[in-house]
Amino acid sequence: MKPFGRLAYTTARRIGTCKRNVTTSRHFSVESNVQTNIESGTLYEMDLTVAKQLNMKTHLPSQLAKQMDTLGEIVTLVREPTAEVASCMRVVDKHLPNLRLVLWGAFGTGKTVTLNQAVHHAYKNNWAIVNLRSAMELTRRVKEIEMSSFVAGRINDPSNAVAILQNFKQQNQHVWKTLTDLLTEKDYEWSKSERTLKEKPITEIVEMGISAPFLASDCVGAIFRELRRHAKNDKLKVLVAIDDANSLWGKTLVKRADRTYAPPSDLTLVVHFRRMIANDWTNGCVLMVADKKEVADARDELEVSRHTPLELFGEEGFEFIEPFVPIETSNYTESEADTIYNYYVSKNWLASKSGKHSFLPQYILNLPIFLARSEEGRKQLMYLSAFNPYYYERLCAFN
C-alpha cells in the first residue's frame, strides 16, 4: 500500500497527472475524519441495513447484488485500489481543491466494486455522498426530454433527475440532519409559482425536485451548488462518486428537434455533474471510473479499444479532469484469490463434486480430492479465470 499524502497531491496538481509510484514519507492525518482502518487483503463486510440505505443493490454489479440476496451478506475484498482511495480521502481538506481520483483498469478487475467500497467508507465517516450509478444513464438511457426554461438550448431529463434526487435523499440519511441545518444562499425561483426562499434548509430543494419532475433537473443543479458552497465553508465533506464517468464526454442518444444527436454539453444533468467534477471548490473528493462500456462496440470484432483514461475520456474530458490521481485496478494475486476461495468455502458456497466419480459412495466423494474445494479445484479456479476477479466469481457461481 502506498499512502498518498499532501506532498503527492500537491505534486500531482503541479505536474499534471501523477504516476502511481510517487511515494511520500508519511501521510497527514486530518483530525476529524477517517478513523477506520482499511487494510488491503482483508475481507470487508457491509452491514445489510446500511447497504439497503446506500442502495447497494442497484449500484453494485448484478452478480454481487445476487450474492447479497443469496448469502445474506455483502463481503468484498479490500484490495490496493480501495486502500489508496481511502488514504486519498484522508487528505481532503478545506484548503485544498477537490481531490480527483480516476479508477481505471481492464474488464472485471474491480472498478465499480472499489467505488462502492469508497461510498461505504464515506458513509462511515459521515461524509455527504453524491453517487451516480452510471453516467451512461444520463447520456444514453433518456426516456423523455424537456427543453430547459432556465438556459436556452439545454435539455432537461425529468425522470433521471428525480431518480438522482431520490437516490441522494436515500443515501444521505446519515447526514440528513446536518443537511437540514445548512441554509440556502439565495432565493430560488423554480417557476412562476414555485420558489424556495433564502435561508431555508437545502433539503427543501431536494423535496421540491422529487415532487415536481419538471423542476427536478434545475433542483439537481441547485443542490449541487449548495453542497459545493457548504463544503467550501467546511460544514461537511463531500464524496462525488460517478461510475462510467467518461460517458460525460462521450456519445449521446438524445435527439434534438432537428433530428441530430445532442452533444453531452447540451444536457443539464451532464453540465451539473461536470461542475461537481470541476476543481473550483474545496473539501471534497471526486471518484470517477473510466469504463470501456462507453467506447467499445460489442459488434465490432476488429477494433479493441484501450482502457486508459486518456483513451476513454477523450481529449476534451481529459483536459477537464486534469490534474487527477489515476488508480489502476488489476487482476487478483494468488493470496487474494485464496482469500476469496476460503471465504466461499467457509460459507459453503462452493459445492461441486467431480461428476464422473458420482458412482462412488458418498464417503469417498467427500474426500478432498473430488471436491471443487480440493487443492486441484482451488488451483484450477485461479488458472481457468486467469486471475480475473469477474471470471473467478462466475466460475465459483455454478460450481
Binding site: 459445492a351 467431480s354 464422473k356 455454478f398
Partner: protein, 222 residues
C-alpha cells in the same frame, strides 16, 4: 438426381454403420489423453503415439475439475445453430440458479432438514435427468400401409438423450416469447425433475402410458 448407374460409378453405397467418415486419417492420428494424471505419466518408449499425430481435443473434453458427462451432453443437446457458447452459458446459468435456490432453502432449514438438501447443482441436475429417463421408446413400424407406434426397448445413452431432448423442447416452448429466459425455465425443470415433479416427468409418464397402451403392437418388432 443421380441414376443407379451413376451412383455405382461414384462408388457411394448406403452405409449401415453409424459414421465412417473421419476428417482425421486413422493411420496417422490418435486420440488425445484428456486425464491430467494420465498425461503426467511418461509414454512407453515403443508406444506408437511417440511417432504419430494427436487429434485436437474437443472443447468439452478439457480436463477441468467440473467436467461432467451429463452436463456436457445437455449442453450439446441444447445447442442451436452451432452456438455452443450460448448453450454453455445457459446451462451454467441454470446450474447457478439451482444452486442459489437450494442455498436459500438450506440457510433457512433446520439441522435435520439441512442434510436432505443437496447444494451441488451438478448432482441435482444429474438426478433430474436420470428421473426423466424413459424405459421404452415408440418407433413407427409400417405394416400394410399403416404406421403403428410400436414400443421398443431403449439403451441408456439413448434414454439419456431422449430425456434431455424432452426437457429442452419443453423449455424452448416456454421461453419462446422472451418473458422468462431459457436458463430460468431449465433450472426450474431440473429442480422439479429431481423431485419427480414437473412437465418433463409428466411427459415421460405420458410416453410410458402410450407404450403400455400400444403393447399389443410389440409383435411387430422385427
Amino acid at each position: 438426381m443421380t441414376t443407379k448407374l451413376a451412383r455405382i460409378a461414384q462408388k457411394r453405397w448406403i452405409s449401415s454403420t453409424t459414421s465412417t467418415s473421419n476428417m482425421y486419417d486413422p493411420r496417422v492420428f490418435r486420440e488425445p489423453i484428456t486425464d491430467v494424471q494420465e498425461l503426467r505419466k511418461p509414454l512407453d518408449v515403443d508406444d506408437e503415439r511417440n511417432f504419430l499425430f494427436v487429434k485436437a481435443m474437443k472443447s468439452d473434453a478439457t480436463p477441468v475439475f467440473y467436467r461432467d458427462h451429463v452436463i456436457d451432453k445437455l449442453i450439446r443437446v441444447c445447442t442451436k445453430d452451432g452456438e455452443k457458447e450460448t448453450s454453455r452459458r445457459n446451462v451454467h446459468s441454470a446450474l447457478e440458479i439451482i444452486k442459489r435456490r437450494q442455498y436459500k432453502a438450506w440457510v433457512k432449514a433446520s439441522d435435520e432438514e439441512k442434510k436432505n438438501i443437496e447444494l451441488d447443482p451438478f448432482v441435482v441436475a444429474k438426478k433430474g435427468i436420470k428421473n426423466c429417463h424413459p424405459l421404452m421408446k415408440l418407433q413407427g413400424v409400417t405394416r400394410g400401409g399403416t404406421t403403428y407406434q410400436v414400443p421398443f426397448p431403449i439403451e441408456e445413452p439413448e434414454a439419456e438423450f431422449r430425456a434431455m431432448k424432452m426437457m429442452r423442447d419443453i423449455c424452448r416452448v416456454r421461453s419462446k416469447h422472451g418473458v422468462t429466459h431459457f436458463k430460468d425455465i431449465l433450472a426450474t425443470e431440473l429442480l422439479a425433475a429431481s423431485q419427480n415433479e414437473g412437465s418433463t416427468i409428466s411427459a415421460k409418464q405420458e410416453l410410458h402410458k402410450t407404450c403400455e397402451a400400444n403393447r399389443a403392437y410389440a409383435h411387430y418388432r422385427a
